[in-house]
Amino acid sequence: MKGERISSLVARRAFLRKIGGAAAAAGAVAATGIPGVMRKAAAKSEPAATQESFPTPDYDWTKHRWAFGVDATKCIGCLRCVEACKRENHVPLDAHHFNTWVERYVYLEGENRARVDSQADPVNIAASGSQGEYRFANRYQDAHVEKAFFVPKLCNQCTYPPCVQVCPTGATYKGKDGVVLIDQSYCIGCRYCVHACPYGARWFNEARGVTQKCYWCYHRITKGMQPACVEVCPVGARIFGDRNDKQSPISLFIHNNRVQVLKPETGNEPNVFYVGIDKEVR
């Protein structure tokens, strides 16, 4: 079945290459005189989701092994990543559907358990005044905080994804580059995968009748770009790259740090690697 999918991908690629060729010929005439750098910059500023060249021509998924890193010690909870993701991936602008989110763990003086919330918490939504822009309310300003930190969350693109295991149609599948994808034209909307994911990474798109989740901005990474959340992070808390490249940021991140994954007891073997999280993060 996977073979068929790849072959249809190859066929589509060939088709796109043909139209691409015609477009490039027209483009070359128009772009005469513009320096190459500017042309490249213009292409980058175009939202990748609306680019017609997806799946990306000449992208070979056997050549990559994508992975993601989160350095929780750097995250400042500004939530730009969440906003960027919502817009880049057309995630409904409400407090109940997220490809990525940020959790805040706060240990108050004298308390043994962390108080946890995310940008979706009603108090934080009230603070931002909008379900499309997110802020963490300063709700602990009068309390004695002993320890506090933020933890960005997203799909772990597990090596053994339980969501893929339970999909009755094979609409969700694991790519050879490690990303768990969903064929939205084949998903029947049963939501079994939503339940199978122990991380709460999947959500159901009521309007389209299919399940969605983070796919590390596959439409961007296959063009050599960074996922939207990584690109907008002002502090470098999110790290992305190809593990096949030993010098990529993610390879170095995993190499230079003692990393851990979420809920390792599930046997899913996540591919988002964390640094600086605490025992209560799961």
């Binding site: 409400d94 339970v166 029947i188 049963c190």
Partner: protein
């Protein structure tokens, strides 16, 4: 985008995407219906395969009940799908690692089996009607004879053989179908409330008691409507069956809960907070207390005292109704309960059931009543009563 009115209020810490409860009351109805199918088929098999003669008055009714309910089993699933027009994708390209992908095959196989077995069981009646009636009804029965009018002793012996083997195949078929429904939940490691090796067996035994209980109610009601005497031996036979299986079901459910509490893995505090709070009435009072322990005690008392006559009928019927309630609550507590306990192990959600709408209570109620309407119609076409035809 359609406005969402099923956001679940929560306490504690839950993942943001969990605030939409995805499996609604329709997914409660789905295992409830499959359970009734398996249970009713058990009764039919007890007579056809194991020769429980006292169940003869309900044997054919059991078969028709199983068929009538089975026809509606896929409907709650279809209504729930985001893209119901793609439902056949699961049949065309089944993803073999998914428990859900096998549903279409199991269900189709089982519906065909039920149809064939029903046809053999009612063949003498169909032939008789085909020969006696004229006009449209006559045509209907003539088509149903499939060209076979042979009612010789030899032919009937052959029919009985078919029924016997179909009933034998149907036992693993019906129970496999329902055991697999339990596996759909039990195999998910993401939820502590579902992830249990006992889940398929728990589902199976509760299925059997629900199906037998439904037959008790149907039998008593049909006798009242037809103004005939209730065969007390048959009723006692059904009551013994419920009694025996309810014992096993209760022990299994108790063991499952004990396992969660005793193992006390991560998040058990929230589970305890849940079962002693929001789940107290649906779980301990309705499912266990009123729904299982009361009928068990009532049935035990009647068996011990040798109760008979009207008191027996009233007692057994009441027990059956309570068991039907208990099994529905069990489905509810599994399906909805599992989703109300957050995967974080640090929070609880609260499912907001809607009344109207595609996945509302009204639809669910209609889905539970619809098989009964179909059954009423089927009994008109193929009277299952042992005292008259068939």
């Amino acid at each position: 985008m359609e406005p969402l009115n099923h956001f679940a209020p929560y306490t504690g810490w839950v993942y943001p995407n969990e605030t939409v409860i995805e499996w609604t009351v329709l997914i409660v109805v789905y295992p409830y219906l499959t359970g009734l199918v398996a249970g009713a088929f058990t009764v039919s098999s007890l007579y056809q395969v194991f020769g429980f003669q006292r169940l003869k008055p309900v044997a054919h009714l059991a078969l028709l009940t199983s068929l009538a309910v089975m026809v509606f089993v896929p409907l709650p699933l279809l209504l729930h799908l985001g893209r119901p027009e793609r439902a056949f994708n699961a049949l065309i390209t089944p993803h073999l690692t998914s428990a859900l992908s096998m549903f279409g095959f199991f269900a189709t196989f089982y519906v065909v089996l039920l149809l064939v077995e029903t046809w053999f069981s009612f063949r003498p009646f169909i032939v008789e009607q085909a020969q006696r009636r004229s006009g449209l009804p006559g045509m209907f029965y003539r088509v149903l004879t499939l060209g076979s009018y042979d009612l010789s002793e030899e032919a009937l012996r052959c029919d009985r053989e078919w029924i016997f083997w179909l009933a034998i195949t149907g036992i693993p078929g019906a129970h496999g179908l329902h055991g697999y429904v339990g596996f759909v939940f039990g195999s998910l490691k993401a939820r502590e409330w579902w992830s249990s090796d006992l889940m398929p067996v728990v589902f199976l035994f509760s299925a059997i008691i629900s199906g037998v209980a439904l037959l008790i109610v149907l039998y008593v009601v049909s006798c009242k409507l037809r103004r005939i005497r209730i065969d007390l031996a048959c009723l006692k036979g059904l009551a013994y069956t419920v009694w025996a299986f309810i014992m096993v079901a209760l022990i299994l459910e108790g063991l499952e809960f004990a396992n969660i509490v005793y193992k006390a893995r991560e998040g058990v505090e929230v589970i305890m907070e849940y079962v002693t709070g929001p789940l107290l009435i649906p779980y301990f009072v309705l499912q266990f207390g009123i729904g299982a322990i009361v009928p068990l005690l009532l049935l035990s008392y009647m068996i011990w005292r040798g109760t008979t006559g009207k008191a027996l009928i009233a007692g057994v019927t009441l027990s059956a109704v309570l068991v039907l309630l208990s099994v529905f609550m069990m489905r509810w507590n599994v399906v909805i309960g599992g989703q109300e306990i957050s995967k974080t192990g640090m929070g609880l959600l609260s499912y907001q059931v809607e009344l109207f709408g595609k996945e509302g209570l009204l639809t669910a109620a209609l889905l539970v009543v619809a098989p009964l309407a179909l059954l009423w119609w089927l009994t008109r076409l193929f009277p299952p009563w042992a005292d008259k035809a068939a």
